[in-house]
């Protein structure tokens, strides 16, 4: 019973709220607003719908960029993993570019793709691309030779081996890569919205500082956490249901 309560996360959040409330009693609301004040701030921001609108906009940017990034990265990772000459060609480039954080590209992407949605979506694509490529490639390289040999001696063509052996065996790696990329996408979008946007949660956080609305900053942070958490739960559910036969989510029933 106690175990269940603790693992549900409710206890954790109650403790945080209490500590936060106590800390805020000793501080100025512009320095550290209380939970109640933050809640009122959230209501104020929702009353004209701007909070939900900003959340929706940020979420949509992340989702579009992330999906497009995956659509490019997965086939690319498969090809790089499968074809040695392409791997040797691209490996040095990948290991160079992947250390350049997405935020470093904001200015450049704005210059190239304009100040609108395009540059933000492309930034998210960039944030997604390398994580998913590298994970997919690693997965392809980890496919056991016995599986490929077995398929080949059962008459599978090279394309069938890719379609029916390599891809299914790589699903857990692709899945992990995509899930990690979701995290880095959120990081990138907030950065981009702070620098160049007039909508979105990142913009809201940045804008609040002009009015000394520290409570709004807290609202922004909490909504980011909620969005990321929900997205991760959705992906987790997807892994446990649609992708379960591929072992996307480790289901160790013996583990406590």
């Amino acid at each position: 019973m106690y175990k269940k309560l603790i693992s549900s996360g409710i206890v954790t959040w109650l403790i945080i709220l209490v500590v936060w409330q106590i800390a805020s009693l000793f501080s100025d609301p512009q320095f550290l607003p209380s939970p109640a004040r933050t809640f009122l701030g959230a209501i104020a921001l929702s009353s004209d719908g701007s909070l939900f609108k900003y959340m929706g906009i940020s979420f949509l940017r992340v989702l579009i960029g992330w999906v497009l990034g995956n659509l490019i990265a997965i086939p690319l990772g498969l090809v790089i993993g499968r074809i040695k000459i392409i791997r040797s060609l691209l490996d040095p480039l990948i290991n160079f570019v992947r250390f350049i954080p997405p935020l470093a590209f904001i200015t450049l992407f704005m210059l190239w793709f304009g100040i609108g949605e395009q540059s933000k979506v492309i930034l998210i694509m960039y944030a997604t691309l390398f994580i998913v490529i590298i994970n997919t490639m690693t997965g392809v390289l980890a496919v056991e030779e016995d599986k490929v040999r077995a398929a080949r001696s059962m008459g599978a063509s090279e394309f069938q081996i890719l379609r029916h052996v390599v891809i299914p065996a790589t699903v857990p790696y692709i899945y992990t890569g995509s899930r990690l990329a979701m995290g880095s996408s959120f990081m990138a979008i907030v950065g981009a919205e702070m620098v160049a946007a007039n909508e979105g949660v990142g913009f809201m956080i940045w804008n609040s500082r002009l009015y000394f609305q520290t409570d709004w900053i807290f609202v922004g942070l909490i909504s980011l956490g909620i969005m990321g958490f929900l997205m991760d739960r959705i992906l987790h559910l997807l892994g446990k249901t649609a992708l379960s036969r591929y072992g996307a989510v480790a289901t160790n029933t013996n583990k406590r």
């Binding site: 056991e144 016995d146 599986k147 040999r149 398929a151 008459g155 052996v165 065996a169 699903v171």
Partner: protein, 254 residues
């Protein structure tokens, strides 16, 4: 011996070691003939290259020199006439497919229609005593059952030749014994030609009609052949069995 199903003539295999100027042979001038329907055992100590030889018959790796003919055709790549049963079921079965789907894999690749696939997979799943487990995933099965899946999967493609690379090596002694008996039964029922690799002399004598003994590498070759004219099922306690056992054992003592 032109009626042999597998003919190996002066096969050699070198390891490419760029740093060593002198070429080192894993296998050197191996000759072997396996008749149709024969249960042939390749027996040798670890590292003698018996798995390498088996992989060459399968077409997974190429010989450096010599000629390898299976089914009247030179072996240059894997083919459906030669089915491989691997040592490790975990690395060779497809964990995302159920038992039935694993068994039907080759049939699906050949785009055989569903009703026919169902019929064939049912036949071989029954043959290896896995009925009732069709819809389980490999991870839900024991080691012995996984090897049964592998056997059914290979048989479903109806190859002429079954290549087996120490398939019972990772099983416990009791399961291994059962699997050996089952393999003999399946072999008798299907009349396949089997090349079975093992380092276990007792297993070799329990299963094989003919045993080829490989020397320790490098430069391994098949040094001796033994015909085992014992009735199946074989009994390890009989004096005849032990006589042959002792006879072969002396090759491995120095």
């Amino acid at each position: 011996m032109s009626n042999a199903l597998i003919q190996i003539k002066d096969i050699s295999k070198t390891f490419s070691e760029p740093k060593v100027s002198k070429t080192s042979y894993v296998l050197k001038d191996v000759n072997l003939n396996v008749r149709k329907g024969e249960f042939f055992i390749l027996l040798g100590p670890s590292g003698c290259g018996k798995s390498t030889l088996l992989n060459m018959i399968a077409g997974f790796i190429q010989a450096t020199d010599g000629q390898l003919i299976a089914n009247n055709q030179e072996v240059i790549k894997p083919g459906e006439d030669r089915g491989m049963m691997f040592q490790q079921a975990d690395s060779s079965l497809f964990p995302w497919l159920t038992v039935k789907e694993n068994v039907e894999f080759g049939l699906r690749m050949k785009k055989i229609e569903k009703s026919e696939r169902n019929k064939i997979s049912k036949h071989y799943i029954d043959l290896v005593n896995l009925s009732g487990h069709e819809h389980k995933f490999p991870r839900e099965l024991s080691g012995g059952m996984k090897q049964r899946v592998q056997l059914a999967r290979v048989l479903a493609n109806n190859p002429d030749i079954l290549l087996m690379d120490e398939p019972f090596g990772a099983l416990d002694a009791m399961t291994r014994k059962v699997m050996q008996q089952e393999l003999i039964r399946v072999w008798k029922q299907t009349n396949k030609t089997i090349v079975f690799v093992t380092h276990d002399l007792q297993e070799a004598l329990l299963l094989g009609q003919k045993i080829g003994i490989m020397s320790v590498g490098p430069d391994s070759k098949i040094t001796h052949y033994y015909d085992v004219n014992l009735e199946y099922p074989r009994d390890i306690t009989t004096s005849k069995f032990n006589e042959i056992y002792a006879n072969i054992q002396q090759h491995f003592e120095h």
